[in-house]
């Protein structure tokens, strides 16, 4: 499998606080990487750096032979069409309906006819089980529906990589299962590549191919799900079985 994203020695500080202290990893085509880490460890910051919403102090993030931190905002706009971002709260445009939100990226970046856009919206809404919610505004949706609509919107341009920023946070078990089913379906049908930032261990284990643990500003451990589950490393234990390691 070819490498689609290469992160090299990323460092980022806010004043005295060093959040990233040399993060390095590769993401392969078709792989879903789950990223664990404590609160404030810089998981979301890493995703924001990958898509160019934050600039690291040093280091490189290579995507399609381009070093993202060195790109201008103008050049980043093109890169962002190829990297989808699923925000923690969905971040839907509140003045647009669900269908309007899904149509947004297509209207911005393609010359598709309204009919073609509608067809794509319908396909995507079916994929996230939200066909009946097309005409609803974001404030009329439940938290789970907002996240699923955010996922659908991120997929509209068929990005090469999808970055999930704690998509299951704050969801009840039913909605969590539903969202994971949607992602698993995407994994099976579209072979998506992505990074899944979460505190939700069962969800991460359910959908990931590999797991990385962000600790003290670095990727402390990176391995397959099976190896991580079998690991006796106390750091892995602290995340996977916090009760046993107390």
């Amino acid at each position: 499998m070819s490498v689609v994203l290469k992160v090299e020695n990323i460092c980022k500080s806010f004043g005295e606080k060093k959040v990233h202290q040399g993060i390095t990893f590769n993401l392969h085509e078709g792989e879903i990487l789950s990223l664990f880490g404590g609160s404030g460890s810089g998981k979301s910051l890493l995703l924001r750096s990958i898509i160019g919403l934050e600039k690291p102090d040093s280091g490189h993030i290579y995507f399609e032979d381009k070093d993202i931190p060195t790109l201008s905002e103008e050049a980043l706009l093109d890169i962002r069409k190829k990297i989808g971002f699923v925000f923690q709260n969905g971040a839907l445009f509140d003045s647009l309906t669900v269908a309007g939100n899904l149509a947004y990226p297509l209207k911005e970046h393609t010359k598709d006819s309204p009919q073609h856009i509608q067809e794509k919206i319908n396909i995507m809404l079916d994929l996230v089980d939200m066909r009946n919610a097309a005409d609803l505004l974001p404030n009329e949706l439940s938290g789970g529906m907002q996240k699923r609509a955010g996922l659908a919107r991120a997929l509209m341009l068929e990005p090469k990589i999808i970055l999930f920023d704690e998509p299951t946070a704050g969801l009840d078990p039913t909605n969590t299962r539903r969202l994971l089913d949607n992602i698993l379906r995407l994994k099976e049908t579209r072979h998506i590549t992505g990074i899944f930032v979460t505190h939700d261990i069962p969800s991460a284990l359910a959908i990931a191919d590999s797991i990385a643990i962000l600790y003290e500003g670095k990727i402390a451990i990176r391995d397959t799900v099976a190896n991580i589950q079998a690991s006796t490393d106390p750091l892995v234990g602290a995340f996977l079985n916090p009760e046993k390691t107390k």
Partner: protein
Amino acid sequence: MNKKSPLQIVGGMGILVAQVFREARKPPYYFGLICEQIWSIGVGSLPLVLITALATGSVMALQFGYGVAKFGGKLYVPKVVALTILREMGPVFTSLLVAGRIGSGITSEVASMKISQQLDAMRALGTSPTRRIVTTRIIAALISVPLLTLFSDYVGLLGAMLVCKNELGIHTSFFIAKCIETIRISDFLAGMAKTVVFAFFIALTACWRGLETAGGTEGVGRSTTWTVVTTSIFIMISDFFLTKFLIMTGFQV
């Protein structure tokens, strides 16, 4: 928003202006959004602007008429009122109203988008908020505010004319003749030039402050108030310097 020094504010707004000029030249141009904003700023503000203009023109004529009547200067009312409305009251009052109504609206809208991560989502979807939000609003303000001022000038003069006729006994034809005799195209253009400066500043400040907002809903409220206060003060102060500049350059006598 963290408390910023005046230098940081000027610097931040300067960078935004540079971005606007750089990005405004490239597609997409968002003509539809510009029209929406013109409707919102222009047509939406029209009733407020017209009522204010009518009241201001009427009161000015009334106050001035009775004030100078003691000295036998009642017949000068049309001249003085026309010049005051076209040069000062029309542009300044209209801009102040727009600053209050639209400046606050733009800031609260952009700030709400910022704190709910909608601006991040916009960027993540490959759209520039500067091009889609800031540039469209600045262009719409540059078109709408001078047009609003034009309507405001006419309605202000209409109010003054009605008061002159009904309260001061100045005939309508005399009022119109004196206005035509007094007003020069430069008076009208001077007022319009001021509104262009005011409109640019109102839209720019409102957008910049919205983009810089932090601190949740409380931050949105603070930003909105800051925009109205800052743009109002700017309009008052810059009006003096713009007038001085126009007089010095011989554009306005």
